[in-house]
């Protein structure tokens, strides 16, 4: 198999694993569908926005939970936002952790919140790693003169 073919194979397998392992869901596929010649970097742009949003919100949550008296409504509002944006980009694990996070917020369970914060940070870091790898693969394919295979 030529270089392009190999890279494309890698890309397909890697993408499939992301879905299989629950990092991304169908909404991520929907993002791909919105990318075309008129908006060739759409997915990268949205995902970048998402990562920025993650960092900001996770920081805000951490700050809120460091307070003497924790304002759980505040924390919940940050989690709600993160849940929304992760859902919009198909970041399934992050979203699911946010769902659990909202429950412990509502219960005003600080320990539970701290655990969820750790988890969501972990999910975000992993996902970031995975997607950056995916984007690099894409770049390699394009640089080698190939096209990105559509993975359903």
């Amino acid at each position: 198999m030529d270089v392009v073919g190999q890279l494309q194979r890698q890309f397909i397998d890697y993408t499939a694993s992301l879905y299989r392992e629950g990092y991304v869901d169908d909404q991520f596929t929907q993002l791909q569908k919105l990318q075309d010649e008129s908006s060739p970097d759409f997915v990268v742009e949205v995902i970048t926005l998402f990562f920025d949003d993650c960092e900001k919100l996770i920081n805000n949550m951490a700050k809120a939970m460091e307070q003497q008296v924790v304002d759980f409504k505040q924390v919940d509002s940050h989690v709600h936002q993160l849940k929304g944006s992760s859902s919009s980009v198909g970041a399934m694990r992050v979203k699911n952790t946010c769902v659990a996070f909202r429950t412990v917020c509502e219960a005003q369970n600080l320990e539970g919140c701290l655990r969820c914060l750790q988890q969501v940070n972990h999910d975000y870091s992993l996902l970031k790693n995975k997607l950056q790898t995916l984007f690099r693969l894409e770049q390699q394919i394009l640089a080698a003169g190939g096209s990105i295979p559509m993975v359903e």
Partner: protein, 236 residues
């Protein structure tokens, strides 16, 4: 390419406080051939629509007389054919925005669609009863946007009917309004000689009544009465 050209004239105002969701809805709308403006708050949306918070009672504004725009908003630089807004926003919620638009004599013709990440039946019915055309659950998909067209077309027709009504009032003639499926170009050329039609076509009957998001089919009857915000053009 008549219809496609007409579609590209449709201008949607999208309102969402999330930058990611704004980017997404913008792409979805552009992919569906709409012109898009995005704003991040309800108050900015109202500003864009030409409705300033400081203005007094909209009801006391004089009727739009020498106005050619179907939406009859002489404040607007650009015509807006549909507003799609997130429900949960800080400050003015999507519901508040919806109310303000429907309470405004100049803006109430504009169809409004609400989006929300949460499937709360009472929220959905409240919005629909306040006059929202559709309620989309997030994340919104391309297939959801296909449901926008009938509402936008209705507005164009209502606008056309409105113009015709104004002419009618001065000429004392009856017009038959065109069915929604006619290309817009033909509709706009409909300065036809008066026909004695007993009443205007019931546009509402031609649009499918089951367009509402199936998030809560049980609670809603498709025939529920919506507040009639434009007594001029429609008969229910």
């Amino acid at each position: 390419m008549g219809m496609a050209a007409a579609e590209s004239q449709f201008h949607v105002l999208a309102v969402d406080d999330s930058v990611i969701d704004r980017k997404l809805i913008e792409r979805l709308l552009k992919t569906s051939s709409y012109q898009v403006t995005t704003v991040d708050s309800g108050s900015k949306a109202l500003q864009f629509l030409g409705l300033y918070e400081e203005e007094g009672d909209q009801q006391t504004n004089p009727p739009q007389t020498p106005c050619v725009s179907p939406t009859n908003n002489h404040h607007q630089e650009v015509e807006v054919n549909l507003v799609i807004t997130d429900y949960c926003m800080p400050g003015m919620t999507g519901y508040d925005l919806l109310k303000k638009i429907k309470e405004s004599s100049s803006l109430r013709n504009i169809p409004v669609v609400i989006m929300s990440s949460e499937n709360v039946p009472s929220r959905i019915s409240r919005c629909l009863e306040e006059g929202a055309e559709e309620f989309f659950l997030k994340p919104v998909r391309l297939s959801d946007l296909n449901r926008l067209k009938p509402h936008i077309m209705k507005t164009k027709i209502k606008g056309q009917q409105n113009l015709e009504k104004l002419e009618e009032e001065s000429e004392e003639t009856q017009f038959q309004s065109p069915p929604p499926t006619l290309p817009l170009q033909e509709q706009q050329q409909l300065q036809q000689p008066p026909q004695s039609q007993p009443q205007q076509q019931q546009q509402e009957q031609q649009t499918p009544s089951n367009n509402k998001r199936k998030a809560m089919e049980e609670g809603l009857s498709p025939d529920r009465t919506r507040p009639r915000y434009n007594g001029i053009a429609t008969l229910v």
